[in-house]
């Protein structure tokens, strides 16, 4: 296992100079909205798309000019890309067979990979006889069997239902802990990214907006984009001179202040009044949307459901601590 390094990588369809280093045994999650360039980045690493500028290194080897088959990467596609006419066993061993690995060895390694993923009982079935979750396991086993230097996973969970997704997240993470290796996982699901990633690279418009641990991203978002994209509902972003801001903060129109719904304090008499426009009950907690005079967007607050106000009620809205961003650049101050 070798690690992955990208230096100033540009590519058509929206990669505009990405610098990135992924450690030898690291699971990096690339997170971003549709069109951010996540999948393109993965395809450039795999060699399915050329880098128009910059270099891709796997280990210490510059693979920028190598064809996909020579990079020793394996990829799990969003669609899983299983061969419909081959059995699960044949699908898993495909990469070994075309590389002329002796049949007995290929069989042995296939069984071993299938056991590692927990799909050994499916080996003689055809893909159409499998459920979505089983197909995904087969795709993972196929990625594992060749012992690649880098695993690339392109939104492998987007076709699974929520329950299975939660289960699979944990399984992939456990698998990574077991087998190690450099793993790059692309997703647009921030929960998935926060749960799985050793580090997360947030992408936007073909650039990495922030790279850091899940805690760092959550607690210290570098830009307003990261602040809004990570977390649901998104972080409140209000003008620095607006009515709702921490009391010790000097009003400054060139700033934006950001705070998560759980940081909102309701019911302190000294705070400005807000009118409840909507209440979303999510089990134990509820999200309360408040309109405050002088603010265009509503302030979202998280409160225990038992203490939620009702729509139309007037409640004082305040915040004690907030992130401060430059309103012009969107960067953290």
């Amino acid at each position: 296992m070798a690690g992955l390094r990208l230096e100033e990588v540009h590519a058509a369809f929206g990669i505009n100079g990405v610098d990135l280093a992924v450690g030898e045994d690291e699971l990096l999650v690339v997170l971003g909205p549709s069109g951010a360039g996540k999948t393109t980045l993965l395809r450039v690493v795999a060699g399915l798309m050329p880098a128009t500028r910059g270099s891709v290194y796997i280990g210490d080897k510059d693979v920028t000019g190598l064809r996909p088959g020579r990079r020793n990467v394996s990829m799990v596609f969003q669609s899983y890309a299983l061969f419909p006419h081959l059995t699960v066993g044949e699908n898993i061993s495909f990469g070994l067979i075309v590389r002329d690995v002796p049949k007995a060895e290929a069989r042995e390694r296939t069984v071993k990979a299938a056991e590692a993923i927990g799909c050994q009982h499916l080996l003689s079935r055809k893909p159409f006889q499998l459920s979505g979750g089983e197909r995904q396991r087969v795709a993972l086993a196929r990625a594992l069997v060749r012992e690649p230097d880098v695993f690339l996973l392109d939104e492998p969970m987007s076709n699974l239902d929520l329950e299975l997704r939660v289960e699979t997240r944990a399984e992939i993470k456990a698998l990574h802990r077991r087998v190690g290796g450099t793993m790059v996982h692309v997703t647009h699901d921030q929960t998935e990214a926060l749960v799985m990633g050793d580090r997360i690279a947030v992408m936007r418009d073909g650039l990495i907006e922030q790279l850091g641990t899940p805690e760092k991203l959550w607690n210290e978002p570098e830009t307003t984009f990261v602040a809004r994209f990570v977390g649901s509902p998104a972080m409140n972003l209000l003008p620095g001179d607006g009515p709702v801001r921490p009391p010790e903060l000097f009003p400054e129109p060139a700033w934006l202040i950001g705070f998560r719904p759980e940081a909102v304090v309701l019911g302190q008499e000294s705070d400005p009044a807000g009118t409840v426009t909507r209440v979303d009950v999510i089990g134990e907690d509820s999200y309360v949307y408040l309109g405050v005079a002088g603010l265009d967007a509503p302030v979202v607050a998280r409160v225990p459901t038992a203490q939620r106000p009702s729509a139309g009620e007037t409640v004082p809205v305040g915040v004690r601590a907030a992130h401060v961003f430059d309103a012009a650049t969107g960067r953290r101050l």
């Binding site: 795999a46 394996s74 495909f94």
Partner: protein, 286 residues
């Protein structure tokens, strides 16, 4: 919905089932359009068994189908795999490959009559070179005058009319998912591996369908060229195929009953060929 099907059903009955019924009945009769039909039982079939011309036509047809059908399919597949991508002049190349199928058969036949002319045709002019001999040191083929060369000529003509198969195969290839090919690329599969292990199995349903369909059509494909270009010859019956045999007996010799019997044999042969192919193609696959 049932009413909407009526025109088709009426057409099917009037144009297919009724003529088929008449043909099947007529196969057991002697009829020349002038005299009343005469019931002769298995007489026509017994005569077919003894008829050397029929045997020649049958063998010619089977040889034609056995060579032309796989070749047409292979050429259509090769062209489809070559031309399915977007490329410079790709559209022009695709049109060129497909267009001969759109030319009326008679015009196509007359064109080949000129192309195949042993003395003045461009094919032999090209093959003959300056000394009039081919690179193998023999005289160029006598396309319309020597039996085997004429049979080869009819097969060559049929190879250029695979445009429809080509279009179906291009569509089938383009419908295959891109990611399985990308996966094969990542796994470092060679072009031959990809063809053998991915493309061919995934296109097998379309190929199987075309194989069955072309086998059925092959008995008709040889009719116009044999009539227009070789007129069933060179003598005695080098390019007389079953379809031409039936045509001659019915419309030149006015032996409708005999022609009907030969048609029934043709139909049974076609059904047998299709059943064998379906059996071969129905191995478990998905």
């Amino acid at each position: 919905m049932k009413k909407l099907l009526a025109p088709y059903l009426i057409g099917l009955v009037v144009l297919v089932f009724v003529p088929f019924g008449i043909t099947a009945v007529m196969a057991f009769a002697e009829y020349d359009l002038i005299n009343e039909p005469r019931w002769i039982g298995w007489g026509n079939f017994e005569e077919l068994l003894r008829d050397d011309v029929f045997r020649t036509a049958l063998i010619n047809s089977l040889v034609f189908a056995g060579i032309a059908v796989p070749l047409r399919l292979a050429i259509a597949l090769a062209l489809a795999l070559l031309l399915h991508r977007r490329a410079f002049l790709g559209g022009t190349a695709r049109t060129t490959a497909a267009v001969p199928a759109a030319i009326p058969e008679i015009a196509y036949g007359l064109l080949w009559l000129w192309l195949f002319n042993p003395l003045f045709g461009p094919i032999n002019q090209f093959l003959g070179g300056s000394d009039g001999l081919t690179i193998f040191g023999r005289t160029p083929p006598g396309w319309l005058t020597l039996p085997n060369d004429a049979r080869a000529g009819i097969i060559i003509m049929s190879l250029f009319t695979m445009g429809e198969m080509f279009l179906i195969l291009i569509a089938a290839r383009q419908a295959l998912p891109r990611d399985v090919y990308e996966l094969a690329e990542i796994e470092d599969a060679t072009g031959w591996d990809i063809f053998r292990r991915v493309t061919l199995p995934l296109m097998a349903p379309a190929l199987g369908l075309l194989l069955v369909r072309d086998t059925i059509l092959s008995l008709q494909l040889s009719f116009t060229p044999a009539l227009v270009v070789t007129n069933g010859g060179p003598p005695p019956y080098a390019t007389t195929y079953l379809s031409l045999f039936v045509y001659r007996n019915a419309f030149e010799f006015l032996r409708y009953g005999y022609a009907a019997a030969a048609t029934v044999v043709m139909l049974l042969l076609t059904i047998a060929a299709v059943l064998v192919q379906l059996r071969l193609l129905s191995s478990p696959r998905r």
